[in-house]
């Protein structure tokens, strides 16, 4: 079950980056996060520190970098029951399309890199239906310079337009490769404001939307189905009433 504070669902540690999971967690706690998801490409080499550390929530994750769309579904199926967060590194339109069509995928990352983000209204509709969240990788706004940063901002702005139109879930992430790449939640919100995101939208992308992603991959006790909750349970007659929330 997710805690109430902000989450960064795309953080890397050893061996993907130069920092141990302890250093990354220490920085995240200092910056005011309630939890992070470690999304290294290969989970087999990952350190087995997971769960809760003194009130901090560490989620396991995987970042899938597939070469072609047909392989992607197999890899997603392989990891679905092993990790909490399945992120797909986007790029070409065919990979993005396969990712948003698979309800097992939680996040679609790295849409800023190419000149065209490979994300459009058709994919936005699919992402909305399958509840695949689009990630705003704000680390790109920090580390890219010059023309490529201009391109990243443009892509973010385009994606924001589609996300508003089709009600696609989205998250703000640092895409941190090192513990010094992380930024506090309010700083990420300020960077998101540069591409036209309002403060409320940014906070939703850091808190409520990540919470719903975590709740979906880790259903709490008594979970029935999306949008359904047990309102009334008359145990002596065995009469169960399921109400829509």
């Amino acid at each position: 079950m997710a805690r109430s504070g902000p989450y960064d669902l795309n953080v890397h540690c050893i061996p993907e980056s130069g920092n141990t999971i302890e250093e990354v967690v220490a920085v995240a706690m200092r910056l005011g996060y309630s939890g992070i998801a470690i999304t290294n490409p290969d989970t087999m080499k990952q350190l087995p520190l997971s769960g809760n550390v003194e009130g901090f929530h560490i989620l396991s994750g995987v970042e899938i970098r597939a070469d072609n769309a047909s392989k992607l579904h197999g890899i997603v199926g392989k990891y679905r029951n092993k990790v909490d967060i399945i992120a797909v590194s986007g790029g070409s339109e065919s990979i993005n399309r396969a990712a948003v069509e698979n309800p097992g995928v939680d996040l679609l990352l790295n849409l800023n890199i190419a000149q065209d983000s490979g994300f459009n209204h058709v994919l936005a509709k699919e992402a909305s239906e399958n509840r695949v969240a689009i990630s705003f990788d704000l680390g790109d706004l920090i580390h890219l310079k010059g023309g490529s940063r201009v391109q990243a901002v443009t892509n973010c702005r385009k994606n924001l337009l589609l996300i508003r139109k089709y009600n696609v879930p989205y998250v703000l992430t640092s895409n941190a490769r090192s513990c010094f790449d992380m930024r506090a939640p309010r700083e990420l919100a300020a960077l998101a404001a540069l591409v036209g995101m309002s403060g409320e939208e940014a906070m939703a992308g850091l808190t409520t939307i990540p919470h719903s992603i975590i709740a979906r991959s880790r259903p709490p006790a008594g979970y029935i189905s999306e949008g359904v909750q047990l309102v009334y349970n008359e145990a002596d007659t065995g009469n169960i009433d399921e109400g829509d929330c």
Binding site: N19, E22, E23, V24, V25, A26, V27, M29, R30, L31, V53, E54, F56, L138, L141, I142, H143, K145, G146, S178, C179, F180, D181, M182, R183, A184, R186, E187, L188, A189, A190, L191, A193, L194
Partner: protein, 121 residues
């Protein structure tokens, strides 16, 4: 020099921040990085509107002044700083106040130096 009447003075906010880095930073290097980062993110005009100025910087904490309606832009500028003279750094804004005194008392009192390499969880 005559002081401006209160209604004509520019309104400012003060950001208390800490710099998280492995090695200690020098004030001059931080100032240089601050202005080059503001220039590249917002351009000269945008940076001038923010009116960023580093007031105090000691140890790992400090106070930055900015225009009262540009606190978000200033935060974004601080977030976009990734290295200061080759040292990796996170500028973490601890709080915003209307006075230097408020920012110092509320947010900087009792802040310890944080280094991710020394932390134990």
């Amino acid at each position: 020099m005559k002081l401006l009447p209160p209604t004509l003075r520019t309104r400012t906010r003060y950001l208390a921040f800490e710099a998280i880095s492995q090695d200690p930073l020098r004030r001059e290097d931080l100032i240089r990085e601050l202005f080059s980062s503001a220039g590249s993110l917002l351009g000269d005009v945008g940076a001038s509107e923010c009116a960023i100025r580093l007031l105090a910087f000691e140890g790992s904490t400090g106070v930055i002044r900015c225009a009262h309606d540009r606190t978000d832009r200033t935060r974004a500028v601080l977030a976009s700083i990734s290295t200061v003279k080759g040292t990796r750094v996170i500028i973490h804004v601890l709080g915003i106040s209307g006075t230097v005194r408020g920012a110092t008392i509320k947010y900087l009192a009792g802040v310890d130096v944080f280094n991710p390499k020394d932390s134990h969880i």
